[in-house]
Amino acid sequence: MTRPTLNWRHVANGAGLVVILVLAGIVAHTTPNDEQQQAPIPVRGQLGETLSGRNIVATVDEVRIAESVEASNGWAGPTTGVWVVVDASVAARVDDLGVNLGYARLKVGDTTYSASTRPGTGSIADQFLTTGIPWTGPLMFELPGSLISGDAARSAELQLAVDSDPRADSLIVIPVDLYSLDVESTVSTERPVWGTR
């Protein structure tokens, strides 16, 4: 009885099949899912740094916490919590057709707070933007007082984007340590200004 001879062609076919299966597995496991495909594209930076996204240029200069706020337009914000006041400068980068600062949020732990629109013209929340000419002014976030003394406050994130939906678009992300900030009794904010500083 003769021993069967090794058929190299069959071996090559088997090896080819294995290679194809491995490649298919890699493609299947690395292809972004729907959520990942539409996720905002983060542009990370620090306080004082000018950050540029697809159609946004933003600089956040200062973050303060206060028990009450007096806005430049006379609005005063009573709250049972605290106000996080962010001084920022924001412009559209390439196109200003219907573009506004529609997404200004503060993420603390798993909870996200939108910038308050209650101050009206005393804030740059929802402000319509111009290409290359920044709006500079405050954003006010109303938070529960207990939140800023928790661990999550150490790694809060300020998030800015044009329009109300940052999916598949740039999202400016700036880490903020709220825990280390002193709580002032009152903060008075500057009038929002259109133009370079």
Binding site: R93, D95, D96, T130, T131, G132, G195, T196, R197
Partner: protein, 180 residues
Amino acid sequence: MRPWLQRNRLGLAAVVVLLPATVGITFATQWGDYFGSRPSAPTTVASGDSADFAGAGWSVEGTRRVAAASAEAEQIGLPAGSDLLITTVRVVPDGSGDAPQCTVRLEEFDGGSVARTWGDAGYAAISYSPAEGTESYCAHDVDDPYLLETAFVVPSDTGDDLALALVVVSEIPRYLSLRL
């Protein structure tokens, strides 16, 4: 025994033809809809020339720039670091009684492609009044020729390679790019 490539030449030829055709048709359909629904096909009009478009004749009559560091800029109340660019376009309706309504945007070019755009300063917080005898918007109820004046607040670093993008909804994706 014939080589593998020769035995499978028909199948391989089909793959070579059908794969690019499938990708091409898919892309063409998707991108065709995308570009077809927005101003994406400019008709470029050189500075000083005129063009017939959407039932009217269009030509740039003049352009004026108010620099940031000027007394006029201060009077207008321009934001710091910005200029006011004022364009005047002569519009000659074709007399059919249905003059086109339009929107106008300013485009800045860099390397032959549009780099930045601005909408008109109609709602901007400045004190600028259009010149007498001009219209601020495309006049729908006018049969006689008129001057369309549009002002734009732009950063002072805006270059001189500019065009006025004139869009008439019924003509989309075509639009007029009047070089300044």
